[in-house]
Symmetry: C2
Subunit: 765 residues, 2 copies
């Protein structure tokens, strides 16, 4: 138990630590609303860094299916909240940040006054249900805090959180008919059968526990909860919307709808009733657990031992400041400060802690495990985040990144398939997207010395994963060196991604002195050549007879052998060997012309429609920044002796693709990958090929930056003569020595030191 | 871990212990087939005393519903097996013994050869599925062992068990197409939606784990399993019969139907494939757990560390002999030996162990608990078993009965409603039947000094349960002294049962010196008077205005205010105060005439149809022995100075209602209550009112008996001149002293000693 005294002492200790570090209030620059309109798919609610709870408003709860068919509108609600909407349905406790498919939205809570309505109602007729109108004028979103006035009930809703607890504060008008609704049916990407089971136990007049078990993107997922009210409810009740109750014993003996303390079923909404004085605050704490109700209650008692909302809020904001202060930047404008720290905020949301305060978590094997020497994380959107998010963590969050690798290895150990995660959340593999990019993340952590586990075991897991012959064409890829177009709809992008991943595995083998493995995987990493059609100079689907597919369109995505990217974007995807790609494409000149064309071409609407997860603003010419496959491409000019073009494009992307507005993100933030790109690029360098210790130099947008490393060392960046127009780098020096090849090493950063750019408005050719 | 060496040593120790006790092979008299035809609802398969596993054949898997409506035929399959049937569908691991509603039937396993059929087929066309014909000639059922020849496949199936493991041995013909099917859809009292979720993880080529979660009689129930094959399977697969798979990621990337190690869904059947030599034995071990797959595996490894089927079988039969040797009887015939030990076998099946070998169990609060100083039991069919089963345990299984009381108190503590169990199984209250008879069981254990827990807490739990005003008319019962017919369909039997239960509570209070409580509950125990209509001399439904219901039929059950008994049977239900009832009915003469009439009247078919759970053989006159409410009634002649009629009736019931045939039980065995009646009565005495330490003397049917008490003391019974015709007791002596009042005390038994009956063929009037 976390005694109150200890808590106070700890608060003081934390405060004094902050003072010692001269912590700035950088959280003030964070605007969680950014990305909530159009394609960003971020959520505006309250969370702490890498928290298990993301407590955020839902503006609608569309069904994933209508009459058994996919409802395309559900996509807009990946994060539950859409800035364009006019009503709020309630506040739920779990959200992804920036994904393009979804799940979660557990335990929707909504305060109301007046006649009880247990259905949510519709956006068109909010009065028909418990939802309420709201306006953005009455809304405030901060790091770790969210508030909104609910117009229909005149209730002020405030939200904050700890790692495992969502903390609500509702300021009610006077009422003898006030309610707090707990909707166990509601969920993101919900459908009629998604709730496998829900259970609620009323422990006493202010505490309830239970769970929600779903079959969705995560196939077998249970979230347990413990919920406490600051004021005893005077009565409570439920409605079970599932008509089926084959065994009627319960119903014959009890009226379960009113004040009945044991509720179970698939479609349940509950209400808790209160009398309220004018301006009376009722607080609600909702703790979650992957393991049990008992653990949820333990989490609740440890993390929120009292009812001091302000204290929890300031603790959450302190937590954010602590993380944000790991980089102190000065930018050209206040807007850029907002962009920078909001991006940093978005990078520190996912992966999420998936472990109780006692160290227990649920494994892929559905058993409970104890995380002995690491924090267990989930929510690995790896196709996105291996590129820049985890390399960013390897610099600024090495301890957490190490724990993330350990979590992935635990996933491997506990998974019947013995595969590293592809896209995993809540003790499930959802198999979304392509590649086996866990190996990239692991290679990057081993190469950069942030992994403290057993590298031999890690390599074995990488090798096993890369040899799952039944998975997504791997068998054919191994046998033939490419995946044939007849057998796999994304044969080209899979081949390209496997080739890169294999190179990453080779890097681990090299470091461990395993020459055989290294040779095997370096050979595999050359497989990109097998889908490169020299006759046209682009990547192209290839048939099993060795010939290239005739019908083929460089601009189209669907049905062309690629996933979330056309050949124009994917043809540059040999991040581990740009020089070889340049040769293959016909040399530096031709390659440069291709790059120029990519950034300047016009992508006709018919092909844009193909491009998933982005808005029209998410592209520059034919370069799709709103999706990930080309994220390294602007840096490739460095390899053909045209670094000024890298510099110009980077600054253009930084300006155009990231804006401090609700619709300021041109594509899904993808669990922080888009934001991590922003941070790297605005600091002036980028990891083209994670698993390498090289960073390619671009053009910083900050005036200066201090990276406060976990080791205590500091890496400084300064951009002299920085301005909106001075996008070109005249020269760059590391610790006073000029850099010639537009590359810095990981060690250069980790050792601490100073990187100085001299900016100019003239391209230095 | 239970090392092999330790296991051998333990086996030797057990064996030598048995020798020391000169243990007889009494298990040879047990015939588990008794009661499997018609109404007994017993199962023929393998179990150990109070085991968690009851591994037994299913002859059909009818649905509880057809087109959303109750299917009355399902009732015949409460125990999964019906002697009348000609086919076996498979062998599942959990069964109730003798119930009249049902659940369970988890993890159906069936061996087959030839072309794979994953549906069970129908009894009419067994060849259409995996079921097989069988004949009783090729079937053998013993305590702890079952075997049957499966005619369609020519496979010999043998079953045995430990507490938590079902052990299968299948002798196959030569085949390159042999299969072992695991049907996760199958279940007793199944219906389309009953499987909430099932999950299977293939751990390697011979071990799988998983769980089945159901919503049935137990509303929220999960059974975890770990299963091992003695021979690696060459391949495996599944079919998911649920068309719904809203998120297709899994299916897009994998063929889950073949050799895919992670299976989840609601309607799954699996197959494991083998090549077999002629007469090759493949063994399967299936361990279950209420807590987790990990615990199931731990149970498996501890209880069945190797593949010695014969060893486990002999251990199971030793376990049975150990329990059966607690009473050594000699009877007039071999048939009576079979009846006696089969009855004893049936009393030692339920309640069942509900706890892993590491002490963990799932509580009513859905959390995992550790049973620190007791074995946790479940399957409490208390309306039945409080009458004679638990009083029997108080003599012959006091340690277990104490643990059962502790399990009930844990249920109370962990249940949101803070009520003692009514009918509970698998961490659920199913609310079946009436009364709050837990209090009787607790009172009996406290009065008889077998309870080692805190009696004050136990009393508090009894009081709380008896004051649940919202439950089954208790509020009105407290306020008015009876439940009115308008408000409750079983108003009279509820009132009568509560009155007895209240008397039981009073006995605890008395023992604890709580005079106030005693007075209150003794007063409540008089409430039977409020539903006794003096004008007709029978119990009768009463309206809230105080008048008795006009339309009323003494012979009918349904709609008359009673449950499973008509007024003729229930009017004698004042077990705690027969003398007052006799007075109320008009004195001893009138009372005797009523009793005579009960045993000799003819119950017309129309009223018999009303009487649940019994066959025509389950009645004697209008006395319904096949149901419980009148189980004490034959002993009431003792209270009106006509003990010879008790003696004659008891012998008649013993002979007519219990026969060593498949259809030998006239009613549901009801988790051992019918059998416990047999044992008490055949030994010559019966506990009319549990909670009293009196036993009423009847007429023993045994020649002699030795009760080997846990204390080491021995209580002997001898019936001199015993014969089929000598049903009357001429005199009876306890330790050489004559008994005059046809009563012995609990202490008389527990102290050890000898009860001698002199039998005669003449009634001693």
């Amino acid at each position: 138990m976390f005694k109150k005294n200890h808590f106070l002492i700890l608060s003081i200790l934390i405060a004094s630590q902050f003072n010692a570090q001269k912590m700035q209030n950088l959280a003030k620059y964070v605007n969680p609303i950014i990305g909530t309109e159009k394609m960003g798919h971020t959520f505006p609610g309250a969370t702490v860094p890498f928290g298990s709870v993301q407590l955020s408003p839902e503006t609608d709860t569309l069904s994933y299916e209508i009459n058994g068919k996919y409802n395309p509108d559900v996509y807009k609600y990946c994060a539950g909240y859409r800035y364009e909407d006019k009503t709020i349905v309630g506040f739920s406790h779990t959200h992804f940040s920036g994904t393009g498919h979804s799940d979660l939205g557990d335990f929707l809570i909504m305060p109301t006054v007046g006649k009880l309505k247990l259905n949510p109602g519709t956006a068109q007729h909010p009065g028909s249900g418990f939802r309420s109108g709201f306006s953005h004028q009455n809304e405030k979103a901060e790091a770790g805090y969210y508030q909104v006035k609910l117009d229909d009930s005149n209730i002020l809703a405030e939200l904050t959180a700890t790692t495992r607890v969502g903390f609500h504060q509702y300021t009610f008008p006077k009422s003898d008919d006030a309610h707090i609704i707990l909707d166990l049916m509601s969920g993101i990407y919900n459908y009629d059968d998604k709730n496998v089971w829900t259970y609620v136990r009323i422990e006493n007049d202010h505490r309830i526990t239970g769970y929600r078990q779903t079959n969705g993107w995560a196939r077998t997922r249970t979230v347990y909860f413990a919920m406490e009210f600051s004021k005893p409810f005077k009565s409570y009740g439920q409605k079970n919307y599932d008509g089926k109750q084959p065994y009627r014993g319960f119903w014959r003996k009890w009226n379960q709808d009113e004040n009945f303390p044991e509720i179970a079923g698939k479609k349940i909404r509950m209400h808790f009733d209160f009398d309220t004085r004018d301006n009376e605050k009722i607080q609600v704490k909702m703790a979650i657990s992957p393991v049990s109700q008992a653990n949820a209650l333990d989490n609740l008692q440890k993390e929120t031992p009292d009812w001091n909302f302000e204290n929890i809020k300031s603790q959450a904001q302190n937590d954010w400041n602590k993380e944000l202060n790991k980089i102190a930047v000065n930018t050209l404008s206040e807007n850029d400060m907002v962009n920078f720290y909001t991006a940093m905020y978005h990078t520190f949301i996912n992966p999420t802690t998936y472990m109780d305060s006692n160290g227990e978590y649920k494994g892929l094997d559905q058993n409970v495990h104890l995380a002995k020497d690491f924090t267990n994380y989930t929510t690995f959107s790896l196709w996105d985040t291996y590129r820049a998010l985890h390399p960013f963590f390897n610099i600024i969050q090495p301890k957490r990144n190490n724990d993330m690798v350990k979590s992935m290895l635990a996933h491997y150990d506990q998974f019947s398939l013995k595969m590293l995660p592809v896209w995993s959340h809540y003790a499930n593999e959802n198999w979304c997207m392509s590649g086996y990019h866990s190996v990239s993340l692991i290679a990057d952590a081993i190469i950069k010395n942030t992994f403290t586990g057993n590298p031999e075991e890690a390599l074995a897991a990488c090798i096993a994963t890369s040899n799952k012959r039944n998975y997504e064409g791997i068998g054919e890829y191994i046998d033939k060196g490419y995946i044939s177009a007849e057998k796999n709809g994304t044969s080209v992008s899979n081949t390209l991604e496997y080739a890169y991943d294999d190179w990453a595995i080779a890097q681990i083998a090299k470091k461990l002195g395993k020459t055989d493995v290294y040779n095997e995987y370096v050979k595999r990493s050359e497989n990109w050549r097998n889908v490169f059609d020299k006759s046209i100079g682009f990547m192209r689907p290839r048939l099993s007879d060795g010939s290239f597919k005739r019908e083929f369109d460089l601009l189209s995505t669907h049905g062309q052998g690629f996933i979330e990217g056309n050949s124009w974007n994917y043809s540059f995807f040999v991040p581990h060997n740009p020089n070889a790609l340049i040769d293959a494409m016909g040399g530096k000149k031709k390659f440069g012309e291709n790059l120029d064309q990519l950034f300047t071409m016009h992508l006709p609407d018919e092909f844009f429609a193909d491009t998933e997860d982005i808005s029209r603003e998410g592209i520059i010419g034919g370069y799709v920044h709103g999706n990930e496959p080309a994220h390294h491409v602007a840096y490739l000019y460095n390899f053909i002796d045209q670094p000024w073009k890298t510099q110009a494009q980077i600054r253009k992307i930084l300006t155009m693709q990231y804006q401090a507005r609700p619709d300021g993100l041109g594509g899904n933030d993808d669990c922080g990958q888009m934001s991590a790109w922003y941070i790297f690029s605005s600091l002036g360098f980028y990891p083209i090929a994670p698993g390498s210790d090289d960073y390619s130099i671009g053009s910083p947008s900050v005036k200066n930056a201090k990276l406060n490393l976990e080791s205590g060392k500091v890496f400084e960046i300064e951009a002299k003569n920085q301005s909106v127009k001075n996008v070109y780098v005249e020269k760059v020096e590391l610790n006073g020595k000029p850099i010639k090849d537009f590359t810095i090493k990981h060690q250069d950063i980790i050792n601490g030191g100073k990187l100085v750019f001299w900016m100019t408005n003239k391209a230095k050719k």
